[in-house]
Symmetry: C2
Subunit: 224 residues, 2 copies
């Protein structure tokens, strides 16, 4: 719209907004340029290729993630807080999960920072470096999976879109043979009623934290 000069910031921001509202597959260099009211090649001055752009979008989304605070709490509480914050950011940016799966995440500075903080917490849990890294990656995958399976699926902002995608999921599963897949068909029926997102996310966090605490008790050397 505005005919201002472009910035790395504004380009990344616009691309992220586009991804959040229409899905990551809508983010095309040409479509982005159109959205910015600029020629198709303009974005290339700010990002040398599409991968760099995706990294920029990720950094822009993850920027508000606060650094890990002082060690006043136990590592469990701090880690749980961090997980909840990331979930919050992913709920604000529905495309972030897909983004993290389509880039080499360790090349994003904001992601490296989050990883570093997580490694620090897990060291306090008594885990070794390798184990900590493996746990940190599983952690991210867990959060991503939580978002991907979420009841308010897709880049759907409006309740109507959310209800529609839930209906689609239900129809897909109900189309299956009830004698071959009885449990799946039974689950599909639970999708008829509106889900409670908060209950869903709380359960997900418990699931992720449960795995980490079990592994810390087994492989770690620190006291709880």
């Amino acid at each position: 719209m505005a005919n201002e000069r472009l910035t790395r910031q504004t380009v990344a921001e616009c691309a992220l907004r586009l991804a959040d509202s229409e899905g990551l597959e809508a983010v095309t260099i040409r479509r982005l340029a159109q959205e910015l009211g600029v020629s198709p090649m303009a974005p290339y001055w700010h990002f040398k290729n599409k991968d760099e752009l995706l990294l920029g979008m990720t950094d822009h989304a993850l920027a508000p993630l606060p650094p890990i605070g002082e060690a006043t709490d136990g590592w469990q509480r701090q880690l749980r807080g961090m997980i909840e914050t990331v979930i919050g950011i992913m709920r604000e940016h529905p495309s972030l999960a897909a983004l993290l799966q389509n880039i080499d995440a360790k090349k994003a500075a904001s992601f490296a920072r989050a990883t570093n903080d997580t490694l620090e917490l897990l060291a306090r849990a008594g885990l070794g470096l390798q184990e900590s890294y493996w746990v940190a990656m599983q952690l991210l995958q867990g959060i991503t999976g939580l978002i991907a399976t979420r009841p308010e699926h897709h880049a759907s902002v409006t309740p109507e879109q959310a209800a529609e995608s839930r209906r689609q999921a239900r129809l897909t599963m109900e189309a299956l043979s009830p004698c071959e897949y009885p449990m799946v068909v039974a689950y599909a029926r639970t999708l008829e009623e509106e889900p409670d997102p908060e209950r869903y996310y709380a359960f997900g966090v418990d699931l992720i934290m449960g795995g980490i605490e079990a592994i810390a008790a087994r492989y770690g050397t620190a006291s709880p």
Copy 2:
């Protein structure tokens, strides 16, 4: 090569082999046709579009997954066995993880079967239908993440390729500022020596199972 008649089977098989050896992004309708020695439009007779092809590839890869056996063991042992089997299949088919992230998995019959079996096991663990489904999806995501982060990264078949991709990962992380990201840089150095894949996967399975057992103890109604 051979000028035989095409089959849905052979097309899916060829596409999967291509994906496993050169990555999912190499699987293009046109490239696939070339590989089959056939005109670019030929695959369309067997799969109505690319999404259907990806589903077919997934079903082909997941076909050898055995159905859940009789309930002679406890649900924990059976579930652990299933996870290990899926990991085995994913290690044989390096593209399967990416495949599952790029399709609507519930539309793949083989995936629905695996989901159904998992739901049955989790019901025996005393979890409700919704909770079971959430756990099942987290389970898959966890396995997928395990494969994605694995030491023998990428579609690398040869040890040289594996060593090279590990080296690339190390260089990316070592390029980071050591005072800003001390833990990440420290972890990068552990990548210098050859990893032990079995130790890695065993740890991963413990991590995933730990979460499930913790949640079963907390939300379930069955005795262990």
